[in-house]
Amino acid sequence: MIFSLNPNSGIPIYLQLMEQIRFGVETGALRPGDQLPGIRRLAESVVMNPNTVAKAYRELEHEGLVELRQGSGAFVSTKIDTGELAGRMKKAKPLVKHTVQRLLALGLTEEEVRRLVEAELRGHHAPNPPEPSK
């Protein structure tokens, strides 16, 4: 698993790491039972604080995605149903594809689509899309 973290984005690094591990499980890059890199090894390889790695693992354990086994490290939980997860993602994909294509056809830019989705996710009304600048 290759992690690509941006320490200067303003988003806490442990949240970025959690997100990428979740994404890894969703895409199948990480499978149930897979061992995650050790805290020290990961901290050294991406040059980040080991306490931050530990925090991400602990939070993921709390979510049930990761199992921390005493003395042997962190593993992707064998209890999660990746089939179901993959199934949900598979179902959602054409819906998103269709919607995005229609929005782009309406003349919205990718950035505008992204902002609309993000605003919707925050449970708020989306802002009026700005006038196209060009």
């Binding site: 320490p7 200067n8 984005s9 303003g10 988003i11 806490p12 690094i13 442990y14 805290i39 020290r40 901290a43 050294e44 040059v47 980040m48 604080n49 080991p50 306490n51 931050t52 925090k55 902002r115 925050r122 708020h124 802002p127 009026n128």
Partner: protein, 297 residues
């Protein structure tokens, strides 16, 4: 092992004549953390390090390392045994080679780590046969880093350790710091103006301003609470602006206003909407933005 914080500073003050370098500084750095110490030039960072090392006496207040008072003569050997720092003057014996400097230095430290010293020497591409006086400024910094990191200290006080280092050497230095924290539970206080480096490796942040601590907390907690809201109003709305300006630093540009918040802001977002904002965007602040906002507010 004691459970005292690695560094504890309470109401620390230091005057140099009429100049007040520190005026009531409070800091608490837990063991095993890699803490960034940031602030403007002259904020009191170096003075803090000097007082911690016992190189100067406080005018008032108290500082301790692993629970041992920093200006107590009886504890100073114990503190020195456990604490390593980069020297302010980078002079070394001019007649010794790098290999001899290492050989000489290791004799003072029972926990000296030969393997680490050798690895860093290789990674930094320092030739042990060369003499320090023939090294460039950056190479000399690398050598001092090797001498400091390999000491096997429990606490490292690093003042601008990557100053003058190229990006490759910087990454090696940061990686070595991360390893020390991960494998031996060392505590590191990293004093630097390179905020991106601090943001990359630190889990704790201390921000000193005019001799006092404005921030002393987990970097994650800080990032979770600090945000910038960008609001758009259809019409000028001075009443709404006045109400929002109570919450944080406020700036207007045309129809948009930005509001920098240092606390949980769900209510503020709701308030902005109820005051007629047609768009509310909330973006996280990185350390660079945060630094500028802290200094301005």
């Amino acid at each position: 092992m004691t459970t005292a914080p690695a560094i504890e500073i309470h109401a620390l003050a230091k005057h140099y004549g009429k100049v007040e370098a520190l005026r009531g500084l409070d800091l608490r750095i837990p063991q095993g953390s890699l803490a960034g110490l940031v602030g403007l030039n002259g904020a009191g960072k170096t003075t803090t390090l000097r007082l911690l090392l016992g190189l100067a006496r406080p005018s008032a207040g108290h500082a301790s390392i692993f629970g041992l008072p920093c200006h107590s003569e009886s504890d100073s050997v114990q503190i020195r045994r456990r604490t390593a720092a980069l020297p302010e003057q980078k002079a070394l014996f001019p007649y010794m080679t790098i290999a001899q400097v290492l050989q000489f230095t290791r004799g003072f430290y029972p926990h000296w780590r030969d393997a680490l010293a050798q690895r860093l020497l290789d990674d930094f591409e320092l030739d042990p046969k060369r003499k320090p006086c023939s090294l460039s400024k950056g190479q000399l910094t690398k050598l001092h880093l090797v001498l400091c990191l390999a000491r096997g200290a429990d606490l490292l006080l690093l003042d601008e350790p990557t100053d003058g280092l190229d990006p490759v050497a910087t990454e090696i230095a940061l990686q070595a710091m991360v390893s020390l924290v991960a494998e031996s539970g060392a505590t590191i206080l990293l004093c630097s103006h390179r905020l991106n480096e601090i943001e990359q490796v630190a889990d704790h942040l201390c921000f000193i301003h005019k001799g006092r601590a404005l921030l002393d907390e987990s970097l994650d907690d800080l990032k979770a609470r600090a945000r910038r809201l960008v609001l758009v109003f259809d019409h000028p709305n001075p009443a709404a602006e006045a109400a929002l300006a109570r919450h944080g630093r406020f700036r207007r540009d045309g129809r948009s206003v930005s509001l920098t918040l240092f606390s949980q802001n769900d209510e503020v977002e709701a308030e902005a909407r109820s005051l007629g904002a047609v768009s509310v965007q909330s973006t996280p602040l990185n350390l660079h933005d945060l630094f500028l906002e802290m200094v301005k507010s």
